[in-house]
Amino acid sequence: MNPAPAAIDFRANSQQVPPSMPGAVQKATAKFLGNRAALVDLLGNDLWQQLRQAGHEARLHAITHLDAYLIQAEQAVAKAGGHVHWARDAAEAQRIILDLARRHHVKLAVKSKSMATEEIGLNHALEAAGIRVLETDLGEYIVQLKGVGPAHIVVPAFHLSKEEIAALFREKLGVEAPAEAQALTQIARQKLREEFLAAELGISGGNFLVAETGTIVTVTNEGNGRMCTTVPPVHVAVVGIDKVVPDWESLTVLLKLLARSATGQKLSCYTQFISGPPRSEGETGPREMHLILLDNGRSRILQTPECRETLLCIRCGACLNICPVYNSVGGYTYGYPISGPTGAIFAAQILGTQAAGSLPFASTLCGACNDICPVKIPLTDILLHLRQRVVEGDTLERAVAPAVLRAGARAGALALRTPWLYRLGGRVLAWLQIPFQRDGWLPRLPPPLNRWTLARPFPAFQPGFRTWWRSRVRAGSRPQ
């Protein structure tokens, strides 16, 4: 069992967004969205929609027959000479890796970007055991040096200026570092190259796991994924059980969707297909390859049919890019390595609604995410279902909303569905507002509606229609 996670307070986090964050987010997301739109145009919308539907069906088929595909994947990996481990939760996954690291006397591990490893807090566990672990994706490397988490799943450090990064390199790496992107990249390349060549262990995630041949697929632009899985003598891949894909035909559809949706590239620079360790002497690559199949709450997500499609996610980040809430606050506000709509539904289920019940409400339900998701996850439907879970509870979780709120809702609903109470309420409010009205507006409302007037005035009540209609009817202009 994982320890109970700390509660995520989205509102408090949203009040502490640095002033530079929204602009930086919007610059990054605009670029990705623009590039994506150009490629969708090039492909043609009809083919794009066909791909989305196919991607949805392929992922759904995998998830709804997950046990069989996991077994197929396991057998194929084992046949290819890989070692397969199963981890029920974060602690178990950490133990497996620590055990492996100890057996191989690992002092330094290099890691390619993996949301699953962030989810299980792997870096902390390794460091606590005296093992140095280095993020090698440039963005992750930067935020690791800074001691913070990623602000976006694709470009973790987008919010930092080149001046800040240069200062960070000067401070933490002790090198001359000009505030220029290419120069900073070269510094990182050289530093990390030394580490790649020295590391005893390479850790990766897996974008997909192809059951047909037991193949771990990693997608990067930088080449760090290839370095981590080729250069050190031991490779361990942490892959969520939801990443399984039935076969290479399905994979093809998903690869056509992924890079276009994430960054607006037709394909990322390096898409790697690893089926076990090298099969013969003379091949370069790790001596040992380990795959950890991670549950950590995914099997629980499967239990709720309405929420099951949470697991279709291919981690492209498109929903983050289009989300107006994400664009206003950035990733840190969600308090979880994966943010935006997909992060909200994932975290609320992996961490539970006690801890992450604020996240399903971090959305206006505008629906832009539904339209952009390459695998057609019904994101807003799932958000709505999770809101019900927070407020009313269900078979998986008890209600989180305070009893007083629920009583208020019951009273409110009673008033609203009783026509005479509803009409009376409208008349009473129209009368009560008189001293507070300014020019047809209410500049301040009493709590909790004062939260509205923090941002803008509330319109004055004007329930004039019904009396107008009644006077028309009385005047005989129209029958009722």
Partner: protein, 246 residues
């Protein structure tokens, strides 16, 4: 042969936008539609549904269906989000295959947002309106995505005499209302609203038009706070401004 339209006025328009409702009545009547108003209607329950109070949402839906279920003909509303609630979420509130669900499906099928009713059912885009001003359009989310009404409001705007339609740079971006969102996460709601207001001001339009009371309350409030002369209007107000009736 007269078409009958039951007015689904929505709680927000009932309390805050009587002119929009009066405009809808006069417009529909001018187009030959016989208008009726089931006075026992209250609220469709969307605020409860969106907040996770499914039980209360079901109670309100049952009440709404009781009122409108005994009517005939079209049910027409000036709010995309309320119509989206009825059409897409009402059936799911009741047990699968139950009589309540079947009723919900039947009534939902004749419930229309007003621009979709005008353009797709009455096949009208030119209602004889005149509004010689520069106008920009905000596409309300539930209307745009829930009801796929991308073209209908624009078709109506394009037919208004003298109206210049200026594109809004963030036309399809949510304004930050989101119902309860505006009071649960007011800082974020404010930031989104301010982005919308900035874009409206930058467009050079004299008025911003939308088809949802929630958006209009949010945007109008934001424009007032920014001391902007730009007016926030419901599309129906533009269609009945001059040349139309009342």
């Amino acid at each position: 042969m007269a078409i009958t339209a039951q007015l689904f006025i929505t709680c927000l328009a009932d309390q805050f936008f009587p002119n929009v409702l009066k405009g809808m009545v006069s417009l529909l009547e001018r187009l030959g539609v016989q208008v009726a108003f089931p006075a026992e209607q209250t609220c469709c329950g969307q605020p409860f549904f969106n907040s996770g109070y499914r039980t209360q949402a079901r109670e309100l839906a049952a009440q709404w269906l009781a009122v409108f279920g005994r009517t005939e003909g079209y049910i027409v509303s000036p709010s995309g989000s309320c119509v989206d609630m009825v059409r897409h979420h009402y059936p799911s509130l009741f047990p699968s295959g139950s009589p309540e669900q079947r009723q919900a499906q039947a009534v939902a099928a004749r419930t229309f947002e007003v621009t979709q009713f005008l353009v797709n059912e009455l096949k009208v885009t030119d209602v004889g309106a005149r509004f010689p001003h520069k106008v920009t359009y905000h596409a309300s989310c539930h209307l745009l995505r829930g009801l796929s009404a991308r073209e209908e409001p624009k078709a109506l705007l394009h037919s208004v005499k003298g109206l210049t339609l200026i594109p809004l740079s963030n036309e399809e971006t949510c304004c930050g209302f989101g119902g309860v969102f505006s009071v649960i996460y007011p800082e974020v709601s404010q930031a989104m609203m301010e982005a919308k207001v900035r874009a409206i001001e930058a467009s050079g339009a004299e008025a911003v038009v939308a088809c949802d009371a929630g958006c209009l309350m949010n945007i109008a409030g934001g424009l007032r706070k920014a001391h902007s002369p730009v007016r926030a209007l419901h599309l129906l107000e533009v269609l009945t401004a001059e040349g139309g009736a009342a």
